[in-house]
Symmetry: C2
Subunit: 306 residues, 2 copies
C-alpha cells in the first residue's frame, strides 16, 4: 500500500428541532484525505487548500484524531496526511467533522481495521472538541456512517441509524459569511422554559416518526425549532426570507444547518428541491453576499475509500 484516499462527506446537524442529537450526510461535498505510512512516528499534516487551518497536528482536527488513534493502537510507525478541504470551515456543514471522520476512517484502514464504528465516532469527537470546545457527534457520526443518524446519548455514546425516506431531498445555501460554532454556542441561553422544551420534544418525536413512516407531511410539521433557531437566526443574513421562500416553493421545512450560516431545506422530490434552490438564489442574488447552493439526496454511504 503506497497511499490511500478517503472521502468524508459534509453533513447537516441539528435539523431544526433536534439540536445536538440529529444529523445527516450530504452528497458531493466533502473532504478528501490522503494517507501515507511513514517510518518516523507521529503525524505530519499537509493542507492542500484552506491554508488558515494549522498543519500542527495538535492544533488540527484531523491531526488530534490521528494522534489519538496511533497512541491507542500502540504502533511504531507514523502517518502523513494530505488534506484537501471540500467543506469550508465555519460553513455549518460539519467541516471539522468531515476532517475528523476522514482521519478516523483512514487511520483505521491503515491500522488494519482494529476499531469499531462506534470507536471511530468517539475518535472523531476528539477533533470536534478541538474545533468547537464541546464534544458532539451529530456531524461526525453521519459523516462517518452516512444516512440520518440519531445521537441518543453522548455518555455513553449511543448512535442509531434512522431510515431515510426514499424521496427526501436537501437544498442547502452556504452564504459566504463565517459563523464560528464556539460563538454560535455562546448565543444560546443555558436554560429553557419547560413549556418550550415540551414543544421541542414533541417535534423531535414527530420528526423521528416521520422518517420511519415515510410521512413527509409529518416531517414538515415537525421541522420547527422554538429554542435554538430564534437565538441563532440573527447571525444569518436574510434567514427569515430564505425560510419563507423555501416554504413558498414547497419545501417541507427549513432551518439552520449546524450553527450556520448555511441554511437547509428538506423537500419531497428533486423537482421541489430545485425550486427551493431557485427561490434561495432569488433571495440572495440581490444582497451582494457571495453564496453557493447545493441540491442533494441524503448520502447513505458515509466516509469511504476512493
Amino acid at each position: 500500500m503506497k497511499e490511500i484516499k478517503v472521502f468524508a462527506p459534509a453533513s447537516v446537524a441539528n435539523v431544526s428541532c433536534a439540536f445536538d442529537i440529529l444529523g445527516f450526510a450530504l452528497n458531493d461535498i466533502g473532504d478528501v484525505l490522503t494517507f501515507r505510512k511513514t517510518k518516523e512516528p507521529g503525524v505530519k499534516i499537509i493542507m492542500k487548500n484552506e491554508q488558515q487551518l494549522s498543519e500542527d497536528p495538535e492544533k488540527n482536527v484531523a491531526g488530534v484524531v490521528a494522534l489519538a488513534m496511533l497512541t491507542m493502537a500502540g504502533v511504531d510507525f507514523g502517518v502523513e496526511m494530505e488534506i484537501e478541504k471540500g467543506v469550508s470551515p465555519g460553513s455549518g456543514m460539519g467541516s471539522s467533522a468531515s476532517s475528523a471522520a476522514g482521519a478516523a476512517f483512514g487511520m483505521n484502514h491503515l491500522l488494519g481495521g482494529v476499531f469499531s464504528m462506534q470507536q471511530l465516532v468517539k475518535f472523531s469527537m476528539i477533533g470536534e472538541s478541538l474545533a468547537s470546545g464541546v464534544e458532539h457527534a451529530d456531524n461526525a457520526a453521519p459523516s462517518l456512517m452516512g444516512g440520518i443518524i440519531l445521537v441518543r446519548s453522548l455518555n455513553p455514546l449511543d448512535v442509531i441509524s434512522l431510515p431515510v425516506p426514499e424521496n427526501l431531498y436537501v437544498t442547502l445555501i452556504h452564504p459566504d459569511v463565517e459563523v464560528q460554532t464556539k460563538k454560535a454556542r455562546l448565543l444560546l441561553k443555558q436554560t429553557v422554559p419547560l413549556s418550550d422544551a415540551v414543544i421541542q420534544w414533541g417535534n423531535i418525536a414527530g420528526l423521528i416518526s416521520g422518517f420511519y413512516s415515510n410521512d413527509y407531511s409529518l416531517i414538515g410539521r415537525s421541522l420547527e425549532d422554538v429554542i435554538i433557531e430564534p437565538a441563532r437566526a440573527l447571525l444569518i443574513p436574510l434567514f427569515e426570507a430564505l425560510k419563507a421562500a423555501a416554504l413558498s416553493a414547497g419545501a417541507l421545512g427549513s432551518g439552520i444547518s449546524g450553527s450556520g450560516p448555511s441554511v437547509f431545506a428538506l423537500s419531497e422530490g428533486k423537482e421541489t428541491a430545485e425550486k427551493v434552490a431557485k427561490a434561495f438564489r432569488e433571495i440572495y442574488e440581490p444582497s451582494g453576499i457571495e453564496f453557493k447552493i447545493h441540491v442533494s439526496t441524503v448520502n447513505k454511504n458515509g466516509t469511504h475509500l476512493i
Copy 2:
C-alpha cells in the same frame, strides 16, 4: 336504542422521558359509561361508585365533555350518563381521561358519529382541563384511540399513532396514596437546563425509534427521565426501590405513570412482566401501604362499545 355502554381504558402518560407528549392505553382497567337519551335537554350524571366525584355536570369531567358536545351539535335532547369508575381518581392511570374519553366516544355515538376522532380528543381535553387545570391529551388520546399515541402538538392538535412492539408488556403498581395532578404539576420547575433538555430529547427520539424498529434494548436505554421524575419521585413511597427491583427483574425500564403514584415498567414478554409484578409486590408488601398490581399488553382498541 334504549341505552349504550362504553368502555374507556386507563392509560399511562409521560412514559419516562416523554413528558406531556406520549401515552399508551391499558387492558382490563377502565371506566364503563352508560348513556340514555332524555327528552329534557342537558346532562344528568349518576355516579355508580366513587361518590366523591361530583354529579353536577359542570363539575364532572364527563359532564363538561357531554355538555360541550350537546351544545356544539345543537340538538334538542339531553343525556343521562351513568358512570362506573374502574380507574381510581388520582391514581396516575388517566382516571379523568378515561371518563372524558368515554363521554366523548359515547356522546358521539348518540349524536350519530358527527365528530372526527381528532374532535373527540379535543372534547376530551375539556374534561382534562377541568381535572388538572391544564389542557393535555397524552391520556385522553390513547384512551380514545388505543395503542401508543404521540401528541406532537397541542395547538394545533396533532396526534400520531405509533407502532406497538408485539411483545411489549406493562407492569403497573398502584399504591393507595393519592397524588393530585394539579399538585404534581406545581412541583415542576418552570425552566430546565438546556443540557438536560438535550439529554431528554435524545431519549425521546430513541424511544420513538425503538417503537418503530422493535428494538427493545433501545426502548430500555431510552426510558430515562432527567427532568420530571427527579422532582416527582419524592411523592411516591418506595419509588427508587420499585424502579431498582423492576430493572433487576429484567424490565426494559420503569417510571412514574402520569403524575403518579402509579409506577409502570415495560418488559419484553409476559414472563418478565410477571417477574416485575412479583418484584413490585415484594417491595410493597412489607410497607403496610395498600396496593394493586396489573400486568397488561398495550390496549390497541381504545374506547369502544360493550
